[in-house]
Amino acid sequence: MIFGRSERGKPPVEPVTLKILVAGGFGVGKTTLVGAVSEIRPLRTEELLTEAGRPVDDTSGVEGKRTTTVAMDFGRITLREDLVLYLFGTPGQERFWFMWDELSEGALGAVVLADTRRLEDCFAAVDYFERRSIPFLVGVNCFEGADRYPAEDIRQALDLDSDVPLLLCDARDRESVKEILIGVVQHAMAFQADRRETVTT
């Protein structure tokens, strides 16, 4: 809660805020990754969804309707006094796609975290970001004890487009996570440049 805390008399800085999503299956290391770079311990926020997966925006009769609570973890990185980046760990299940839509609107890009022992857990996320043209990269979280595979094999198993970066990482390691996030933003830049070209030519 400390960004832009004002000195006496000075109006508080109203920062520009940005977000990057961290998607992937349960237990793949999303919260760990957020915590490795966040200046606050990951916070938790909840959204109520109706049975159809739509967000509930009121409290009328919620008790009567069947709702699901979806929790999201998030962290914060103050890049500059006036520039703050939020990282959101998004629940992996496809049925929460309304929430994904909401989260991904205006996102700089996304990280899809993968565990080579359960690659299928991230198919839904890869699919989602591909279809919505949201720039993303795949971070393979290298757990000890998991077999190492050549990046090319993982790309094939995920059926990744050749321009989607795939990086190996350790979600617990701050430097490793920094590289991942920088990779996302660099990819977003290249992605935008490509799109501009497609539009103008």
Binding site: M1, I2, F3, G4, R5, S6, P11, P12, V13, E14, P15, V16, T17, L18, K19, V37, L43, R44, T45, E46, E47, L48, P55, V56, D57, D58, T59, S60, G61, T69, M72, F74, R76, I77, L79, R80, L83, V84, L85, Y86, F88, E102, L103, E105, G106, L108, R174, K178, L181, I182, V185, Q186, A188, M189, Q192, R195, R196
Partner: protein
């Protein structure tokens, strides 16, 4: 607390990273009998420093939908204003992306 109200249709759903800023010259929210304790808490947190919608939800332990309604009330009664995040079209602005990369490198 939200008395069953929904957010008005005109009020586009507030992004989780929209920033809520206290209006410096607003009255004391505790003196306003139309406000709930949760409204007062939001104003209090935002007076300390501007807060994102996600942070307010986490801090008050309230679902996002509820926090959105409460913020809407506070905007209507001019206790706070909301800064919406960078619109998607402007994220193509290379200078913002470069600032983010440099900021991350410097961490």
């Amino acid at each position: 607390m939200t008395r069953g109200r929904t957010t008005s249709a005109a009020q586009h759903r507030l992004d989780l990273i929209a920033v809520v800023v206290a209006e410096p010259h607003a009255d004391d929210p505790e003196a306003d009998s139309t406000l709930s304790p949760e409204h007062v808490d939001i104003v209090g947190l935002c007076r300390h420093a501007p807060q994102s919608v996600a942070e307010l939800s986490a801090e008050l332990d309230l679902p996002i939908g509820v926090v959105r309604v409460l913020i809407g009330d506070l905007v209507d009664s001019e206790f706070v204003h909301v800064n919406r995040p960078v619109p998607p079209a402007e994220l193509v602005d290379e200078s913002i992306l470069r600032d983010v990369i440099n900021g991350l490198r410097a961490l």
